[in-house]
């Protein structure tokens, strides 16, 4: 089933640039949505979120929609 794995593309809940928070280990981190990756979390929406850890280190994560909350 390559190329056309998903038949239903859900409407994304968050817009690009939205500020969100999610749990990372035992803390909650805040970041910004930089990409909607599509329904790749077992068929549910997945986002790429950039989290600034300090002034010169930003790390990106792919986080399922159900783990994200508005910051």
């Amino acid at each position: 089933m390559p190329y056309t794995r998903t038949v239903h593309d859900p409407v994304p809940r968050f817009q690009l640039g939205a500020r969100v928070r999610f749990r990372l280990a035992n803390q909650v981190v805040r970041g910004k949505i930089v990409e909607y990756r599509g329904p790749l979390a077992g068929g549910r929406p997945l986002y790429r979120v950039e989290v600034p850890f300090d002034t010169n280190y930003v790390k990106s994560y792919e986080i399922p929609e159900w783990e994200l909350k508005p910051a």
């Binding site: 089933m1 390559p2 190329y3 794995r5 999610f22 749990r23 990372l24 280990a25 035992n26 990756r37 599509g38 790749l40 979390a41 077992g42 997945l46 790390k59 990106s60 994560y61 792919e62 986080i63 399922p64 783990e67």
Partner: protein
């Protein structure tokens, strides 16, 4: 360039989906930590879908994908070469730098070349899908899709 871009998107999506299934196996508090590490500096996020980048990114998930793909079908080795050639042409077009030494001795592209690459990408996409499905099933105990 469009074909290379689509194939990159496919490989990147497949990688993300595999990571998603793997991280489900660890405690919830660690899932996003593991997710971040498996995706950190992923070559397919920035680079072309050449055999080296694909091999490096999927190696993080615990397999030599090209060995598996070649075992599945020996013709995949020739398709891998076609993928390399497609990316060489992609770079030549993007940078307007047509070096015959890198482009099979030519500086012009034919429609039949693109047709061959498209077929090669289609076969490789199916092979990657099958190989990763088998790999994850062996790791996780049930088929991921």
């Amino acid at each position: 360039m469009l074909l290379s871009s689509h194939f990159q998107g496919y490989c990147r999506d497949l990688h993300s989906e595999c990571v998603h299934h793997i991280v489900q196996q660890v405690p919830p508090a660690l899932q996003n930590v593991l997710r971040g590490e498996l995706l950190s500096d992923r070559k397919l996020d920035r680079g072309n879908p050449n055999p080296g980048n694909i091999g490096a990114d999927f190696a993080r998930l615990g397999l030599r994908i090209w060995d598996r793909v070649n075992t599945l079908d020996r013709r995949n080795d020739a398709r891998k070469q076609q993928l390399e050639q497609m990316n060489n042409w992609r770079n030549a077009i993007a940078h307007q730098d047509f070096d015959p030494d890198k482009l099979g001795g030519r500086t012009s592209l034919r429609l039949e070349d693109v047709d061959h690459w498209r077929r090669a990408c289609d076969h490789l996409a199916r092979a990657f899908d099958g190989v990763m499905r088998t790999h994850l099933q062996a790791l996780l105990g049930s088929p991921p899709w």
